[in-house]
Every structure is written in structure tokens, then in C-alpha cells.
């Protein structure tokens, strides 16, 4: 059985801070979901994920996360990813406290 590909971003956690990071079009890493590269082609997404996973000296646990294009850039398409992009809902900690969402 094959699963249908959904547009995705490549995301991971920063090795040092643990913070959520996203692969950009330039091949760099951003802490902003809106700056992530949105992959609509499965082969390109897999290639980007493979390239990201090789950078284990600066990140942990890279994976493809579902996303969609919004007015200011890619937006999370699942509530788990929305929390990762923003921070917890009980305190204004994480990205929301740093103006990163």
C-alpha cells in the first residue's frame, strides 16, 4: 500500500538548544516555520530529508512534516506541528516568546 504524499517541510531539533528548526530553500536552517522550504514533489522532499539527516553534527531527528502554503510562507498542516512552530499553550515560552512565529 502506498500513502499519498502531502506537501511537507523538513524539520528537526537543534542539537545544542533542542529548538525546532526548518530547512530553507537556501539549504540553511531557520527557526521560523514560514521560512521553511515547502516540498511538493516527493522525490525532492526525500532528497532534502536525506541531505538534512546527514547533518547530525548540528541537528537531531530530521523528518518530513506536513505543511501548506499560507500568505506569509509555509504553515503547519497538523496541530502537533503548529505547537512545535509556536511553543506550549500554558506559558508564553519558546518561539512565541521570541517573536519567532
Amino acid at each position: 500500500m502506498t500513502t499519498r504524499f502531502t506537501p511537507s517541510v523538513v524539520t528537526a531539533n537543534d542539537l545544542f538548544e533542542g529548538d525546532v528548526i526548518y530547512l530553507t530553500d537556501a539549504g540553511t536552517w531557520s527557526r521560523l516555520h514560514a521560512e521553511a522550504a515547502l516540498f511538493t514533489d516527493p522525490q525532492a522532499a526525500d532528497a532534502a530529508l536525506e541531505q538534512a539527516s546527514a547533518q547530525s553534527d548540528r541537528l537531531v531527528g530530521a523528518y518530513l512534516a506536513p505543511a501548506r502554503m499560507g500568505p506569509n510562507g509555509p504553515e503547519p498542516a497538523h496541530f502537533r506541528e503548529a505547537f512545535r512552530a509556536r511553543g506550549p499553550s500554558n506559558y508564553a515560552h519558546g518561539k512565541q516568546a521570541e517573536g519567532l512565529c
Binding site: 531539533n13 542539537l15 545544542f16 538548544e17 533542542g18 529548538d19 525546532v20 547530525s56 553534527d57 537531531v60 531527528g61 497538523h78 496541530f79 502537533r80 505547537f83 512545535r84 511553543g87 506550549p88 499553550s89 500554558n90 506559558y91 515560552h93 519558546g94 518561539k95
Partner: protein
């Protein structure tokens, strides 16, 4: 309480230096994440949704004021100024940076604390009745045995790679406040012909396959307990399943082999092990009993307490809900609620930790406890000091009079922090606490427990009302279970029916409470008593039918 020996200090120092070097090698690129992950987990370091998380063990939930002060310092220096007390009597720091963790662990070691075996397939932090050594209903303090188990299980070479994690809980009281029937091994102290021993319960657990533990032995003399537990671990290590992590806990082994067969295999192993100990366990246990000798209680009048109780309604409400009977005349057990209405269950700021530490030092014989219900206990307070303790707690926002009531909710971190979670727990708990605040004293005793995934860290299966958060087709959805019980009459709750959306779960809980208030026979009949008298149906009716809930179709 137990103070670390030179051996303990040397062990921690070596272990921390080892992990410091492992972190340095990870950062230098000499270790991959696959190589590093099991090493960091052995030292309590997780990677969660937004950051690393350091889980620190608080053995059998016991702390002194110096340790609590150090937790406050760590929270301020290396985290965001607070800590989260968990259902495992641990504390979690949610925002450490990898580079800071070695210094955090060294700071913990300064006060005889660590994060070892708070993860991994090993014997985890041994948990205990949070009123141990203080409760009026207790046979004896179980913590000497708990400490013996801690020493035996820490870095035990045979049990570092069990089929799965292993949790032991112990109580010295017939009234079970340690949820012993929902642990891999539960130990309940009992007397036989005047001699102390333990009922040994095995194979309990919550998670995706909830099971109430079975009695493996009705009475194991205290002198035989450690070799008997070692025999259980040994049998589990040999016969527990390793082919499927979801079938690897001892509860599955007990189910597949049958309790009789497990009993026979443990007995055979015990027969080999008993003599090998050559009495060393008994000698250590005797030393530990001295370490846990009761403090020097003072004899003093309680007039100040009596006067405040008669004249101050706020103090009276606090005493009526947050004070438990102590075995020593003139003393009381104070439960400090970390469940202020609308606050995050189990969280304490560094300032609050310092207030509690100072109160323990000044009024509480320097002891604090963490309860599995995510509150803090001052186990030994003279009643004449209660008005001063209450006033200090009020000033620090710690005098919420809701212990055992509907807002005293267990909630796991859920999807606000946890990488395993499938839905949020904390905001649900916050909102329930807000909506019940005005009437919770009328509602009376009610245990609401919330988990953000099927791993059940929030103990939802044994809540009178349990709430389980799931991901249903990309949307948070909450299942309700009814009639669970975490005590000596342990029971698993039964699922009420279809789940509720995030914005519908709190109204659903309110309907359950409304139904209970309508159905109860007098103010003395608690929610769980009414449920047991009437069964689930009238509560299901309230949830799904009479209110015409959309999800009921």
C-alpha cells in the same frame, strides 16, 4: 532521611564525568545521535517537542530543604524559572540546553540527586506513599525498604537492559496512596503474627494495556523481600518478551504464563538467590531504619491552631481539605496544592520551591515530599505552626484548598511538551479547574486524571473520571473513562463512549458533575460511590443523550 554515603558521592561523580565526556564527544561529532541517544536517556535527558527535558529522580518522593533549594537554583539558572513535578514523583526541567546539562547534573550531585534511571529499560525511580513515615494509618515507614531497593537497583548490571522499563511502588499503609496495583511490582506492608512483611503484587500497569496487578505472594517476610524481588526481576529478564515493545512489560508475561507459573518460577529462583545474599540485605536494611528514624517531635500546646481554626474561615477551609492526620499527637501532614485554579498541574516556580523549602526547614523537620498526584507535602508540621505555614503559603500563591477535589487534577505534560503525546492535557486541566472552582467543595472528593496519549502518564484509567487525549484524523479528541480507582480498591475505568472535541470536553465533564449532583443520595455520597451504586448508564445518558451531544450520533 537517608544521606548519601561516600560510595554514593563517588559513584555520582564518576558517572557525571562520564556523561560530561559523552556530551562533549557528541558535540565534537565523535558520537552519532544513534550512539548518543541511549547514553543520554540513561542519564535522564530526553528530547521533547521544543527542547531537551531533564528528568530528575526524587527517590520515593522524599526531599530535604537543601535539595529543594537546589532545584530552585537549577530552575532559575539553567531553565525558565520553574519545574514540573510528575506522577512518578520526579521533577522535570523543560528547557535545558545540551551544553548546560553536565553542570546541572553536577549541581544535583552536590545535594545527593541525579537523573539516572529516569529513562530506559531498567528499574525506575522507586515510588512510595507520599505520607510515608507520617500517616496515622501506617503500619511502618516503608522508605527504608524503598531506599534498599534504590541502592540495589541503581546501576545493577543484570537489570540495565530489561525487556522494558520497570516500576516499583511501595506503601506501609492499608490505605493505598501509592497506586501499588498499577505498577510492575506493588508492595503493600502487612502484619502476620506481629511480624512485618509485604503483599507482593505483580503485573499491574496502565498504558495501552491497562491491568490491575495480581497478588504474587500474600506475605513475604521483610527479611526475604529483596531476594524475592530480585527473583521476580530475574524471571522477567529471562522470560519477558523482547520481540515486541508493546508486549514487553511484565504484565504481558504474567498474562501469558499465568500467575501460578510465574509464582513457581519466582519461587525456584528465590530458592537459589536467598542464601547468596548471606544476610547483607538485612544488615543494610537495619542501618537504613536508623536513617529513617522519626524526627525529634516536640510536645507543645495546640491552642494557636484551635483559635485560628475557630476564627478564620479561610484557614479552616485549608485545614479541612489539605491536612491529613499524623500518627504523632499534635502533628499534622500538610499537602501543598500545585493546582491553583487555572495553573499548570505540578508546576512550581523557583520562588515557590524556596518558600516550601524554607517552611520545611523552619516548621517541618526539614522534610518535603512529592506526591504522585503532583503536589508537595510537608509531612511533619506541629499544629501550632499551621497558621504561620498557611499564611506563608498564601503569600506565595500556594494555599489553594483543593486537595482531593475536582480541581486537584493529575495531568501529564501532553502535547504542549511531550514528543509522544497525541493531544494536549494541560489546557484541559486548567479549564476544568476554572469551571469547577465555585462549587468544588459542594462536589466533594473527585479524582480527575488526564493523559495526552495512551501511555497514560496521567493515570486516566484509574481516575474517577479519566480523560484520554487522542489524535483523530488530525484533530484533538478526548475519550472519557468512568469509575476508575487508584486506591486499595483499584479498578480500571470503563470507556463512556465516543470522544469529544477539544472545545467540547470541558462541557462534557461539567455534565458528568451535574448528573452526579442530581443523582447522589446526600452530600456524603461521593462521585465514585454514586457511580458504584448506579453504574455508568446515567452518566452516559448525561454525556450523550439528554444533552444531545453532536458526537453521540
Amino acid at each position: 532521611m537517608y544521606a548519601y554515603s561516600d560510595f554514593d558521592h563517588a559513584f555520582l561523580k564518576t558517572r557525571n564525568a562520564q556523561f560530561r565526556a559523552q556530551i562533549a564527544r557528541r558535540i565534537a561529532g565523535h558520537l552519532t545521535e544513534d550512539e548518543f541517544k541511549p547514553l543520554r536517556l540513561m542519564n535522564g535527558l530526553y528530547l521533547q517537542l521544543h527542547a531537551y527535558m531533564l528528568r530528575v529522580a526524587i527517590p520515593y518522593g522524599t526531599l530535604n530543604s537543601r535539595q529543594m533549594h537546589q532545584l530552585a537554583m537549577i530552575a532559575e539558572r539553567w531553565d525558565k524559572g520553574y519545574g514540573h513535578f510528575t506522577t512518578r514523583q520526579n521533577i522535570q526541567f523543560n528547557w535545558p540546553r545540551l551544553n548546560d546539562v553536565p553542570d546541572m547534573l553536577d549541581a544535583l550531585a552536590e545535594v545527593g540527586m541525579h537523573a539516572i534511571q529516569t529513562s530506559g529499560n531498567c528499574v525506575r525511580n522507586v515510588t512510595a506513599d507520599h505520607f510515608a513515615g507520617a500517616a496515622a494509618d501506617e503500619i511502618a515507614d516503608p522508605r527504608p525498604v524503598a531506599e534498599l531497593l534504590r541502592q540495589w537497583s541503581t546501576d545493577h548490571p543484570e537489570f540495565q537492559f530489561l525487556p522494558r522499563k520497570f516500576k516499583i511502588a511501595i506503601t506501609g499503609s492499608p490505605n493505598d496512596r501509592a497506586v501499588t496495583r498499577a505498577h510492575d511490582i506493588g508492595l503493600r506492608m502487612v502484619l502476620r503474627d506481629g511480624a512485618r512483611g509485604f503483599e507482593v503484587i505483580v503485573g499491574g500497569g496502565l498504558g495501552r494495556t491497562p491491568v490491575i496487578g495480581k497478588v504474587l505472594a500474600e506475605f513475604i517476610p521483610e527479611a526475604d523481600l529483596l531476594p524475592y524481588i530480585e527473583a521476580i526481576l530475574s524471571v522477567y529478564n529471562s522470560f519477558g518478551r523482547r520481540d515486541n515493545k508493546y508486549k514487553a512489560r511484565i504484565k504481558i508475561m504474567v498474562n501469558e504464563l499465568g500467575i501460578e507459573e510465574v509464582r513457581a518460577r519466582v519461587a525456584a529462583r528465590f530458592a537459589l538467590l536467598r542464601d547468596e545474599w548471606q544476610g547483607a540485605d538485612g544488615a543494610i536494611l537495619n542501618d537504613l531504619r536508623r536513617a529513617f528514624a522519626p524526627p525529634a517531635f516536640r510536645v507543645a500546646p495546640t491552642d494557636a491552631f484551635d483559635a485560628a481554626y475557630a476564627s478564620d474561615p479561610v484557614f479552616r477551609a485549608f485545614v479541612d481539605t489539605n491536612i491529613t492526620a499524623h500518627w504523632q499527637d499534635g502533628y499534622a501532614i500538610v499537602s501543598i496544592s500545585l493546582k491553583a485554579h487555572g495553573a499548570t498541574p505540578g508546576d512550581a516556580t523557583a520562588d515557590q520551591m524556596r518558600v516550601m523549602a524554607d517552611l520545611a526547614a523552619r516548621y517541618g523537620h526539614d522534610e518535603l515530599r512529592i506526591s504522585h498526584e503532583q503536589n508537595v507535602i510537608l509531612p511533619h508540621v506541629h499544629k501550632s505552626d499551621l497558621p504561620a505555614v498557611h499564611a506563608a503559603l498564601r503569600a506565595a500563591g500556594l494555599a489553594t484548598a483543593n486537595i482531593g477535589l475536582a480541581s486537584d487534577i493529575i495531568a501529564c505534560p501532553g502535547m504542549d511538551y511531550c514528543a509522544l503525546a497525541t493531544a494536549r492535557s494541560i489546557p484541559v486541566a486548567q479549564e476544568i479547574a476554572r469551571v469547577v472552582e465555585a462549587r468544588e467543595h459542594d462536589i466533594g472528593g473527585l479524582k480527575i486524571k488526564i493523559s495526552g496519549c495512551i501511555n497514560a502518564c496521567g493515570h486516566h484509567h484509574v481516575g474517577h473520571i479519566g480523560i484520554l487525549g487522542l489524535d483523530r484524523a488530525g484533530v484533538e479528541n478526548y475519550q472519557i473513562t468512568l469509575g476508575g480507582d487508584a486506591t486499595e480498591t483499584a479498578a480500571l475505568g470503563e470507556r463512556a463512549g465516543p470522544g469529544f472535541a477539544y472545545d467540547q470536553i470541558v462541557p462534557a465533564i461539567e455534565r458528568l458533575i451535574d448528573a452526579y449532583l442530581d443523582l447522589r443520595e446526600g452530600d456524603d455520597e461521593t462521585f465514585i460511590d454514586t457511580f458504584r451504586r448506579l453504574g455508568a448508564q446515567p452518566f452516559k445518558d448525561a454525556l450523550y443523550l439528554t444533552q444531545g451531544h453532536a458526537d453521540a450520533a
